[in-house]
Symmetry: D2
Subunit: 338 residues, 4 copies
């Protein structure tokens, strides 16, 4: 039984505690938050849990095996590093850290100490995304042409990161999981509508070797909620709509067929294919529970998590490049993997 | 009664001829197309219409008062110029021409000859877009924050222009009509998935003075059809979904409210407003018929069309900048109005 | 080439004339309507067509091979009978006649004279309904449990028939085509909200041998348009939504599985199956064109139409029973096939 | 603080316990269920709660002020009566009892003892239904013409009641709350597809004085989930779709206008009105929490609940009539209020 301490009992914290309670291999032993009213709420909902306003006390507590960091992004690095240095396994909310240098430092520390460092890229643990990966691993889509994602709503403005770091990170995590290529350059644009605050609307194009292109649109100020991804391939195409209750993943047997024009060998005759559409049945499981069990399993069996520190670092590199590109209104920023 | 000759009887041509037939102030007198089978089809459907494979003959024909150009983009300039020089009013399909220099040349020629030059920005003549403009003119949205448009489907690949010139031009025409500001710079990305063909996926950000931002996503290779625009303002927001049969325009009383934080004057407390949603009733009229009648009225009364050559030129400038930006993977291109 | 005369140029008449024009085996020679303005409209749209206000003249005209009856229901019988007696093939709008006795009389007359009598059950000629029949003929659904249809909108009130005769007749025609059983009894309810007019809301249950049940809900006074049919079977279920543009037919691999309870052999343990969903690709063809070509083919080759007079009669019997049941607020009316 | 005991910890029980925990005026003190594993689950989730397999012990326990009955329908009467006779306030799941005679007996017992008897017609406590009632009380719809409801899914088959008693009861409860008239007669049809089990598909028409009509379609064996109500009036119409996340209630300014025909005074000219559509903003509150607080308030202040025993009895009378009508395949059954 792995004893877990959760730092941060804000929006996501109660879900984390509940899932560590429900996981048969873990127990939620302690919650830390600076706000007394949040701790009172935690105790009301989870009688018997220990609480503290001192995150260092939680990290250092000898009865705690693993630390969950669910605080604002700018504090991830300090807390995660302290926990690793205290010999604790770490489960960090996304994004892993607020710079790639700091993210890389966490990856090194965890490796050096043989500790599990897992980033909560929750969507990777949904049945829908697992099914998409399964289809793509089996080359059902043929050559992958594009990955296009929209994640917008009237959402909570963050003060320390912009909307790409807050929302697009989900899309990047799915993309990282289902594609077998990494972006080599980024062009991004965005704007803030509140003076002094980070961008609340953002657009981000990612370039790959070859003609694959990816794009994410994120917006905290939209009148409607949308969470929709299109993945286009030469043989089939996928629409993943996370707001659909029972038809989240649709697989379309659609595309184009190419033939050299008889009149002009340099011009293609482009035909269209339109076939059946298919909605695979998905099991009903809670993604966060899957993630929590995977974390416990990685600790027990010394495995590398699917969404390990390296995955977290890859995403932070992309977000960092996007911020740099936004500052120059879209100029390409190459992704340098040092 | 204005006598009209239509050059190009491809996909859109039959709609044009039908609408000039149905308009009480015009008659469709002649059709030109290089393809004999298309001319036969025109005569089968519109008995009594004259046909020719020679567009020059149509342009020069003394019985023709106005020429409609519905051919591939790269031929717009030559045909429209010839028609203007022959003293005919001209109705051109969008985009006006394949370069801003050529578009400007057409604008000058029409002005010099006091002829009507109208671009078929059809969406401007839909009841939905007219209602949106009416709402925006009345400042119903407050400060306008963003304009975001998606226009994708499994569509006809064009060989002479990319997907932004073919599809995004519709969105640009609506934007040009409903916003009272012009973009000052563009950043665009895109890719082609067919060797030797223009980009079939494109993304285009437009910057304005202040913090207004606009974005268009166009794609010829999508598994599903979408035509959806979001317009966000400080007071209200609009969702315009052209595929909705009876609820095309939705007006949301949603947004954020800003208050300086009591603790930190430099940080805003951002609150959320969520009020009613409202779908205005729209009359059922055919946009192209509205456009055709407007063209006839402009000829009869020597008026400047809502979508005149100048509007066509503004759009071509944006598309040209987008193409330039795509070539440098997103680098900003300023819009220079000479 | 079959020469066709169309009686009635109201809502549906122009579609009929257009389709007889477009069909390569027929020509639309003449239109009859009592209203001069409708005849003028027909001539404007179809130059060269003959028109008359005298339907008898059309029926008797020696140049006419087949008569199309597209008038109010209460006039179908007289016109169709006169046409048959004049030796003409007949294509009648649905429903065939306003009583089963009259419908039977038409069936007899056509049979006696070896003429084609076809009822315009248009939906039977849609790619969607053909696909559904194909699936059901192949027993893809297993045992058929229920057929449930909703057809509502803010629609044209009819003065001579109620909403079931006007709208539910479409659902009955599909049901008649895809099921291999006939209803044996009807229970129906409905009400009129306009004094002196027929019922504008109607509900109709049909019983079959065994435990198959069918139900249709029709309404002329609904705020939204719906055209949706559910067909439930022991192995699979179908949702047919005619308002969907590209996903009209959905096939669900869902249902229940039955096992005797180990504790109580008289009680079943009912389990649930939820599998994939599948949307077959459908060709894009116009149903009315398919119907018109089928009519021409039946005339040419002396075939019995899929929707012959007998099918029309079966539907009228059901509608007659429904009217009788409505009058007694739902009491069962047996279907007697004399 | 009202101390509550909950009998039945099946599908709905955990929601009830949670809501009595969260309500500031109540505490969930005890749970009774025959199944030891369900009791263990209750204790795991709600540490410190008392459990028992003996419902009589819970009812008789002096520390319990109010008893919640969340067991199969056929046991409601015995448990509720015992609780009332033990002097406890009672909150019963819908439907109140399995016959109107027994339901009436409970109403009498509660009245005689001055105890609160409330039926869990949860939908009455949703913001959506409250808004609908508010609109109807303000005569926003004009004369009410029809109430049409569909509630279908692939749902849990019940063994002791048919699908109308299980699902349609929700629609009847909403109807009872928003209309100011009571049905005077019922015609219903339905069928069972599992030998020996109650009807799993049911249709139910209700007649009122005047020309108001109501209809409910309920089905446990549908491939898709639908929960949609149409309410038609002379001035406006409502569509209530409970599966919509943010647009549950739509108010349509649509209808017909009637004018006597100039030619024939007995025939109406029926015109159509189509105006705006409006979606009122609804607060986000949990209906069951509203119900639980209302129950507590009624106990504290000796008030009659909105969904009291009398409301529960009215619904049972309708369901009883429906069952009787189903047995005779739709024959009208009058509602007799003794």
């Amino acid at each position: 039984m792995i004893s877990v301490g959760v730092i941060g009992y804000g929006y996501w914290g109660p879900n984390l505690v509940r899932n560590f309670v429900e996981c048969p291999d873990t127990r939620a032993a302690m919650v830390a938050d600076r706000r007394a009213d949040r701790l009172a709420e935690a105790q009301r909902r989870f009688p018997g849990i220990d609480v503290t306003t001192d995150s260092a006390a939680l990290i250092e507590h000898p009865g705690i095996d693993a630390v969950v960091v669910a605080t604002p992004v700018s504090t991830h690095f300090d807390l995660a590093l302290a926990a690793l240095q205290a010999g604790k396994h770490v489960f960090v909310e996304k994004p892993l850290a607020h710079s790639s240098a700091l993210a890389a430092r966490l990856v090194e520390e965890a490796a050096a100490r043989n500790l599990v460092l897992m980033v909560d890229h929750t969507f990777v643990y949904t049945p829908a995304v697992r099914k998409i990966r399964e289809l793509m691993q089996a080359s059902e889509l043929g050559d992958v042409y594009y990955y296009d994602s929209v994640r917008i709503n009237l959402g909570l403005f963050q003060h320390d990161v912009n909307v790409l770091w807050d929302l697009a990170v989900h899309d990047l995590s799915v993309m990282d999981y289902v594609l077998d290529q990494q972006p080599i350059a980024v062009s991004a644009t965005g704007v803030s509508h509140v003076v002094g605050e980070p961008e609340n609307v953002g657009y981000m194009t990612m370039f790959f070797e070859g003609n694959l292109i990816a794009h994410v649109h994120a917006n905290w100020l939209a009148p409607v909620k949308m969470r929709r991804t299109l993945i286009g391939g030469s043989r089939r195409m996928i629409v993943f709509d996370d707001l659909e209750s029972s038809e989240k993943v649709k697989v379309y047997d659609r595309g184009i067929s190419l033939n050299p024009s008889p009149e002009d060998v340099q011009q293609m005759l482009i035909g269209y294919r339109a076939g059946d559409m298919w909605v695979p049945h998905l099991p009903v499981t809670e993604a966060l529970q899957n993630a929590v069990r995977h974390f416990a399993e990685c600790i027990d069996q010394s495995l590398t998590p699917t969404t390990d520190g390296a995955a977290g670092l890859r995403l932070v590199r992309l977000l960092e490049a996007a911020s740099e590109s936004i500052a120059s209104r879209g100029a390409t920023v190459e992704i340098v993997v040092s």
